[in-house]
């Protein structure tokens, strides 16, 4: 049985989306409207359980009368607005943003990145071989998860998930500024010396694989990670009585990682250290 959250009824806002009449509940974003209309707008930093940070700028669209492009993920639809999602101008910005990202970080584990790069004919190589890259070694300082900032696009989702939007642990923050800005814990210490409580909710929301389970990281390094062969089983966590949903990802009869369904109205994909990482006892066969 799926619980259906019932919100307060909302008025409908009427506006124009690519020349078509669109009606969405008040408070909806342009991206919500696009998705409802079956339009596929690329986005990286938008998260279904978090307030949009609109930092990646891949989802920009043209709003009639506005000087600059608007991020579809966070701009609310307003009555009478005229929005165009597929203009040359919007496509140009998306292409360049994808080029800028792909030339500076490793998008190999970012879902759909390759597809969008192809669709927008982005050529990340054209900045030359000397183009500055983030170029960092993965930080492996604990047995639960790995931070590989070479893959980080600074979407702020982990910061928001660790901070006031979900976990309230505030163990991570953006430090430095400009191209040198990085995600870090206090004093840029190893994770084990930080305020981290290993809930793994940052890993859950990371859109690029910059944060990954140690199990997944090791298997990728060994070449044994095979998503196609994995099965997913959603069950209830047995540790306490809250009843959080766990999705067990199983490959070769071993649990390789644990996620949680985002549409669960209670947990919205969040877990604690036990639910997320405490599964070894299940497969202890001795």
């Amino acid at each position: 049985m799926t619980a259906i959250p019932l919100g307060v009824p909302r008025r409908l806002v009427e506006f124009t989306l690519d020349g078509q009449e669109a009606r969405v509940p008040e408070g909806s974003t342009i991206l919500d409207a696009c998705r409802a209309a079956g339009k596929d707008i690329p986005t990286l930093c938008q998260g279904d359980t978090l307030t949009p940070k609109n930092a990646c700028r891949v989802c920009v669209v043209e709003v009639e009368g506005a000087r600059t492009l608007a991020p579809a993920c966070s701009r609310k639809a307003e009555a009478g607005m005229e929005v165009r999602t597929d203009t040359e101008r919007a496509r140009h910005s998306r292409k360049v943003v994808l080029e800028l990202l792909a030339s500076s970080v490793n998008l190999s584990t970012t879902p759909r990145a390759a597809e969008w790069i192809k669709e927008y004919e982005a050529k990340p190589d054209r900045f030359g071989p000397d183009a500055a890259r983030v170029d960092e070694e993965p930080r492996v300082d604990n047995d639960l998860y790995v931070r590989d900032y070479d893959k980080c696009i600074l979407c702020y989702k982990c910061v928001d998930a660790c901070g006031d939007q979900w976990q309230n642990t505030f163990a991570i923050s953006v430090v430095g500024r400009g191209f040198d800005a990085r995600i870090a814990v206090e004093h840029d210490a190893p994770l084990t010396d930080s305020a981290c409580v290993y809930c793994g909710n940052c890993v859950e929301v990371c859109p690029t694989g910059a944060l990954s389970f140690k199990s997944e990281f090791d298997m990728r390094a060994a070449g044994t990670w095979n998503e196609a062969e994995q099965t997913e089983t959603t069950t209830v966590c047995a540790y306490c009585g809250v009843g959080c949903n766990l999705t067990l990802h199983v490959q070769d009869n071993e649990i390789v990682k644990v996620t949680s369904p985002h549409d669960n109205p209670v947990t919205h994909g969040n877990l604690c250290i036990k639910g997320r990482f405490g599964y070894q006892h299940v497969q202890n066969r001795d």
Partner: protein
């Protein structure tokens, strides 16, 4: 929230610096060094801190300043102690401390010599200055030499700023030169700052070794070649009044505008400002009356007034000269603005690189408060208003209105996305009117001469007098006041235009270049727009043909790369790619540069269209104009 701290402890000096700002800890829990003997019986029954401390999050930046001023850098122990006192997560505070260029989280000498390497100083030999200074101050000299973006001393380029950490001087900022103690021992040197401009390597090194005895700065009036001339409006008191004396200010017409404001009432003031046609002078040219009316009419309370004195645009120094030469005028103007928008608290966000303005404004606020011109009952009119100065710490982006709010609130100075606009949700999420210094100071003549007379100055769409920051290759650099509508040629004529003028940078690094043969461009918002350029913040930086243009463009690109907050991709990576391309074509022209120029255009267009704020949106303007108008790489 359950905060986690490491084992790092503050030194006594660091703790003193924080306690001097926040007061002694209310209970041992606030310090929580794990030493249970320190806790009193009362402490074991309840803990203060928590929500009450968290509501003082905006003291994070002043706290970081307190430690940095005292010790010269911010250690783990000091940062953790400040976080315990304010209940701020250390990771967030670390993110804030590493955001600002004037702070260091790594040990460094107590004395830092900031040498300006920005456009105006670069044209006047900052490279030689840096080399000379570094040649004399080797390792072990106890001085850290740091290359700095624009210090706002363009009329006296090249410039340097010395900041020495030490025990706090009495009062706000630094003591006047005569009362500076010369007997302070080596062990406990006092916090001191010194501005050296124009700087030679010898003078800069001398000031770095003993900032308390450095040559005093020339008076602000020397930055105003027109000082004392009749017909000035905004600059009329510069060089005429004693900037430290409230009586002198009043004897020169001070506080008559505030009296008029009380006669008119808040709505009346807004009507006058609207009728006068005043628009913002910070660069965006938004109608001030509209902003004030929108703020005043918000039902949410309290309302705030913020004065943006974070003048960091390379080539801009008019606000510094106004604040140093006529500080009370800003205090009076802020009081009027606060009254008009229904605010009882005004924040004056001053960039960290202006020690003299800090000192003079601090004094002006104290004096005004002592005389009932600020406080619970301003001029006996039953209106309560007070002003707090907040010091920036080296971040151009904090001049962006919403980044400035984040900075005051104790967060990283990253811009917020709009809407909602500040008039609706600004500082602390409340309706806020934010105005630049020059904009506010314009309110005084509007009220004293009346909207009609004010609007008669200038042109129909750009009313009033305007300040221009003239620097670079001119005979008399400085701040000039002209009515809107004067031409670029007329302005440069006043300042002494060089015979070999190559180009003029209008509006600063975020503005654009115009050619030497475009002297008839009218200096108005509409006139510059029609000419395909911008007035921006009023920068007029003259470049003669001896200055290598590609070098200037590289410096502008470097500036934006350095000052990008890093929040959005087009700006964070785009500014880097822009600088790389300019490096590749630094010595190339024509076909050899064509590929990279095409690349620059594509990246520039995306930065302009897709960046979150004005920094990324304008980062390509100057370079583009140099290519298109000056033929920089042909």
């Amino acid at each position: 929230m359950d905060l986690h701290f490491g084992d790092s402890k503050p030194t006594d000096e660091e703790r003193e610096a924080v306690d001097a700002l926040l007061g002694p800890p209310g209970s041992a829990w606030e310090t929580a060094f794990g030493d249970s003997t320190v806790r009193s019986d009362a402490d074991l029954r309840w803990a203060r801190g928590g929500r009450a401390a968290r509501e003082r999050r905006d003291l994070l930046l002043p706290g970081l300043h307190a430690v940095n001023d005292r010790v010269g850098w911010i250690s783990e122990g000091a940062l953790d102690y400040l976080c315990r006192r304010l209940t701020v997560p250390p990771a967030e505070a670390y993110g804030v401390a590493t955001f600002y260029s004037m702070f260091s989280v790594k040990p460094r000498p107590a004395t830092v010599l900031h040498v300006c390497t920005d456009v105006a100083c670069a044209a006047k030999g900052s490279a030689e200055l840096c080399a000379g200074v570094e040649g004399r101050l080797g390792l072990g000299s106890g001085v850290s030499v740091e290359r700095s973006p624009c210090l706002g001393l363009c009329e006296r380029a090249p410039a340097a700023l010395v900041v020495r950490a030490g025990s706090p001087a009495a009062g706000l900022g630094d003591p006047p030169p005569d009362s500076r103690s010369s007997h302070a021992g080596e062990a406990e040197k006092a916090h001191a700052t010194a501005v050296v401009a124009p700087a030679t390597p010898e003078a800069a090194v001398l000031a770095a070794s003993a900032p308390e005895t450095a040559e005093p700065e020339p008076p602000a009036s020397l930055a105003v070649p027109q000082a004392g001339q009749p017909g000035l409006t905004l600059l009329r008191r510069i060089g005429v009044v004693d900037p430290a004396s409230l009586d002198d200010y009043r004897s020169h017409g001070g506080y008559s505008a505030l009296r008029r404001a009380f006669e008119l009432g808040p709505a009346g003031v807004i009507r006058e400002v609207t009728d006068a046609g005043l628009v913002g002078r910070g660069g965006a040219a938004f109608p001030t009356g509209v902003k004030w009316k929108a703020t005043a009419s918000q039902p949410d309370r309290p309302h705030y007034l913020v004065c943006n004195a974070d003048e960091s645009e390379p080539g801009t120094f008019k606000d510094r000269v106004l604040m140093e030469g006529d500080p009370y005028s800003l205090i009076e103007a802020m009081t009027i603005a606060g009254y008009a928008v229904g605010a009882h608290k005004g924040y004056l966000y001053l960039r960290g690189e202006y020690p003299r303005a800090l000192r003079l404004l601090g004094n002006a606020i104290e004096q005004a408060r002592a005389r009932g011109l600020l406080g619970d009952d301003v001029l006996g009119q039953g209106y309560a208003f007070d002003i707090e100065i907040r010091r920036g710490a080296g971040a151009y982006i904090c001049g962006e209105e919403t980044a400035l709010f984040n900075s005051i609130e104790g967060y990283r100075g990253e811009p917020r996305s709009k809407p909602p606009f500040p008039v609706e949700k600004g500082l602390f999420g409340k309706p806020t009117a934010e105005n630049n210094v020059e904009t506010l100071v314009n309110v005084l003549p509007i009220l004293t001469m009346g909207a009609e007379a004010y609007a008669a100055i200038g042109t129909e769409k750009s009313t009033g007098p305007k300040l221009f920051c003239v620097s670079g290759s001119v005979e008399r650099p400085g701040i000039y006041e002209l009515p809107f509508g004067a031409t670029l040629g007329e302005l440069l004529g006043l300042a002494g235009k060089p015979g070999n003028l190559r180009a003029v940078l209008l509006g600063g690094a975020a503005g654009g270049f115009v050619r030497a043969d475009e002297m008839d461009i009218p200096l108005t918002f509409e006139g510059t727009r029609a000419a395909g350029t911008t007035l921006g913040s009023g920068v007029v930086l003259a470049i003669d043909d001896t200055v290598p243009l590609p070098r200037i463009l590289l410096r502008i690109a470097e500036f934006f790369r350095d000052e990008s907050c890093g929040q959005c991709v087009p700006c964070r990576v785009g500014t880097v790619r822009q600088e790389e391309a300019l490096h590749r074509i630094a010595e190339r022209t024509g076909a050899a540069a064509a590929g990279d120029i095409a690349l620059l255009r594509e990246v520039g267009r995306a930065m302009r269209d897709a960046s979150i704020c004005g920094l990324g949106q304008t980062a390509w303007n100057a370079v583009e104009s140099a290519i298109d108008r000056l033929g920089a790489y042909e």
